[in-house]
Subunit: 397 residues, 2 copies
C-alpha cells in the first residue's frame, strides 16, 4: 500500500544524502510498505494507491524523542507547585513515584502508558525511547520494561535511577543487584542501559560498573549527567562510547572538547538537551551555542516524567531551545529529529530521505519555524507513521 | 435543552457568590439555555436532557482572552527568527502586516480569522477580545471591525496602533482622523477603543485625545502601556477609568499604587499581563508578585498577533505566569478566567457560579494545576460553550 503526500508547502527532509538542502519546496513524498522510496519535485511524483493533501502546509520528519520515563503511577503535582512557588516540600521525590508504581496493577500501568504514548504521538513524536526506573526491584523493573516493550523497541533499563529506600544503608548491595540478577532479568526486554549520575543518585565509579555490566549483557549505553553540576559523567560516557549523555546543563570546557572529539569519530556520544526540565525546575538554561560552535552532536528530547518535568511536548522543547538555549529554529528542529535518531544510533528515522521510515508530521503551519514562532499552539495537524495517517490519536483518551 | 456535566474530578468554579471555595470536589454542573442554573454536590444533581461525563477530569471556566489581534494577513516569521537569533532585520514591523492586510480580500481575512478563532477555542478560550489595528485607514479599520464582529462581541477599535507610513510626516493629522471620521465609522462595530502608548507609537497626550473621543462615542476604554518602559500610560488609564491597561511589564511604584487604589473602588482598571510577548521577544518578565501583593487586579491574556507574539495559547501563558511571573497556579488560572472577564467588565463569564454563561473546559487532566505542570501538552479535552460540546473544533482547519 503506497501513499503520496502532495501539495506540500515546505518539506523538511534532513536527507543525509542531500545535506546541503535540508528543506525543499515544490516537493512530494512517497511512502510504500512503511518506507520512503521516493522524494522529489512534485511535478515528477509517481502514482500511489492513496494520497494525502498537505494543503500547502509544512511537512517535517516525525520527532524522535530519545528520553522519557513513562511507566509510572501517581503524579507529583503538589511537589511541582511547591517548587514553583518557593514553598518547602518534604515528600519523597522519585521514591514517591516508586511506591505508587510498585502498588499499581499491570493493567493500570498499561493504560496510563498508552495514554501518555498517545499524547506524545499526537504532538508529533513517532519514535519514542522509554526508560524503566520507578520499579527499583527485580520484578518491578522487569515489569516496567516488559510493558514499555509493548509500545516501543527503544526501551532502556534504568534500575540505576536512585538507590531505593530499602537499600539506603547498603548501596553497594543495590549496585550488585542492578549489575547482576536485575540486569539479567531486564536485558531481554531492553535495548539500552542507563545510569543517573548525580550527587543524589549514583557516582561515576558506580556508573562505570553498571554500564560495563550492561554492555557485557549486549545493551547499548546511555547516561544521565550534568543536570545540576559538572559531575564527571560526560567523560565516562565518552570513554565508554555511550550513544548519548543526557541533560548536559553543566559542562566543563573539557567535557565539551571530549564530546566534540567523539562526534568527529562517527556515531560518537550525542549531548541530549532537555530544556523542559529547566523550565519545570526553574533552573538556568544552558547555552547550546557553546556546544554547537565546538562541533558537539546535539539532540533535544522531552524527559517526560512525573517529577522534574511532566511535559511530553517536543514542540515546546524546540521553542525553548530557540528562546532559551540560543539555537536557530532549524538547529532545534534538527536536534529533535535527526539528533534524536543519532542519540539512538538510528539511521532510519529523524529524516525523510530515500530509505527512511515513512514517519512524517503535517503541521498546521506553512513553515517549520512556526514551531518556535507559535509556542504552545497545537500545530501538529496530521501524524503519519509508516505511511498511515494516525491523526485520530489526537483525540486519544 | 439542558445538560449536566458529571463525574467531575475537580470543579474550579471561581464562583463570586462563594469566594472562599474556588474549587469543589464531588460536584456537578448544570447548563440550561446557555447559562448555569445549578452547581452543587454531584449526589444532588438534578436531571437534564443530556449528560457529559468528565471521566474524573478537572473542569474549569473557559478562558477569557481579553487581548488579541487576529484580523490580518501575512506573517512575520522571518522577523521572528532574526530577533530570536540576534541577526539584524530591517523590515517594517507592524507596517509589514498593514500592507499585507490592506491587500487581502474580505474572504481571505475572514478565512484566516476563522482559523485563528478555532485554534483559540480548541485551546479553551470561550470569550475572545479582538482588536483592529492593521488597517490604519478608515475603510480598512472599519472592515477589520466588521469582520471581527462576525465572530465576537468583544471588538476593539485600535486605529491608534501605529502611525501609518502615509502620515509619518503629519502624525497630528492621523490623530485627527482617528478621533474623527475613522472613529465614527468604526464605533458601530466596536465595544472598546484602545491606544498603543509607546515611543514608537502614540504619546500619553495623543492617547488622552483618542480615548476621550472614543468614550464620547460610547466606547469603553483600553490601553497598551508599559511594554518596553514605564511610559505614563498606566496613570492615564487609571485617570480615565479604562477597563484594562495591557502589558504592564514596566511599572513604577506609583503605577502600582494607582492600579491597586483603582481596584479597591469596584471594577477599576485591571493590569493585563501578556507573558507570551516576553517569551517571543526575549524581553525580561515582570514580577507579578509586586502587583498581587499590592492588591492590583490582574488578568492574563495571549496578545496573539503576527509580530511580538503569534501564540494564542492561554494555557502556555498560564504556565509562564507560574514559571516566570511568580504566580501560583490558582492565581494564574484566576487571572486567565475571571481576571480576563473583569478586564472586559463582564460578570457573566470567567466563572461557573449560578447565572454564569455555560462556558466550560474539560481538561485531559485530573487537576487544574496540570496546566502549569504539563506545559505545551494539549490538555483541553472538551470545550463546552453555552452547554454545547464543540470539541470537534480541535480538528479545525
Amino acid at each position: 500500500m503506497s501513499c503520496v503526500i502532495t501539495n506540500i508547502g515546505q518539506l523538511v527532509t534532513f536527507d543525509p544524502a542531500d545535506p546541503d538542502r535540508p528543506i525543499r519546496t515544490d516537493a512530494a513524498l512517497v511512502i510504500d510498505e512503511g518506507l520512503v522510496p521516493w522524494v522529489g519535485d512534485a511535478a515528477n511524483a509517481p502514482a500511489a494507491d492513496t494520497r494525502i493533501d498537505a494543503d500547502g502546509a509544512a511537512v517535517i520528519p516525525g520527532f524522535v524523542d530519545s528520553h522519557s520515563h513513562l511507566v509510572f503511577a501517581g503524579d507529583r503535582v503538589a511537589e511541582f507547585e511547591a517548587r514553583m512557588t518557593g514553598r518547602p516540600y518534604t515528600a519523597g521525590g522519585i521514591r514517591t513515584t516508586v511506591a505508587a508504581t510498585r502498588a499499581a496493577s499491570d493493567d493500570d500501568l498499561r493504560a496510563r502508558l498508552a495514554h501518555l504514548v498517545a499524547q506524545s504521538r499526537a504532538q508529533g513524536t513517532t519514535t519514542l525511547e522509554i526508560k524503566s526506573g520507578y520499579g527499583l526491584s527485580l520484578a518491578d523493573e522487569e515489569r516496567a520494561l516488559r510493558l514499555a516493550r509493548e509500545v516501543t523497541d527503544e526501551t532502556t533499563f534504568l534500575g540505576a535511577h536512585v538507590v531505593p529506600a530499602e537499600f539506603a544503608h547498603d548501596r553497594g548491595a543495590y549496585v550488585d543487584l542492578v549489575c547482576g540478577d536485575m540486569l539479567a532479568a531486564c536485558a531481554p526486554h531492553a535495548r539500552w542501559v542507563d545510569v543517573f549520575i548525580d550527587s543524589g543518585a549514583f557516582t561515576v565509579d558506580e556508573a562505570r560498573r553498571i554500564l560495563t555490566a550492561g554492555r557485557d549483557a549486549g545493551l547499548g549505553l546511555r547516561v544521565h549527567a550534568g543536570q545540576l553540576e559538572a559531575d564527571g559523567g560526560v567523560a565516562l560516557a565518552v570513554e565508554l562510547d555511550a550513544a548519548s549523555v543526557d541533560h548536559c546543563t553543566h559542562l566543563t570546557d573539557a567535557d565539551i572538547a571530549a564530546l566534540a572529539e567523539s562526534a568527529r569519530g562517527g556515531a560518537g556520544t550525542v549531548a541530549t538537551l532537555l530544556p523542559l526540565v529547566e523550565f519545570s525546575t526553574k533552573q538556568p538554561y544552558l547555552d547550546a551555542r557553546r556546544l554547537l560552535d565546538a562541533g558537539v552532536a546535539i539532540a533535544i528530547a522531552s524527559d517526560c516524567n512525573p517529577g522534574s518535568n511532566y511535559s511530553s511536548s517536543v514542540p515546546l522543547a524546540v521553542a525553548l531551545a530557540v528562546r532559551e538555549l540560543g539555537m536557530t529554529p532549524l538547529e532545534a528542529l534538527a536536534a529533535a529529529t535527526r539528533g534524536g535518531a543519532r542519540a539512538l544510533r538510528r539511521t532510519d528515522v529523524g529524516h525523510l530521505g530515500v530509505g527512511a521510515r515513512g514517519d512524517a508530521v503535517i503541521l498546521d503551519a506553512p513553515d517549520y519555524r512556526y514551531l518556535a514562532y507559535r509556542p504552545g499552539v497545537p500545530l501538529v495537524r496530521t501524524v503519519v507513521v509508516g505511511g498511515v495517517d494516525i491523526a485520530h490519536l489526537r483525540q486519544a483518551r
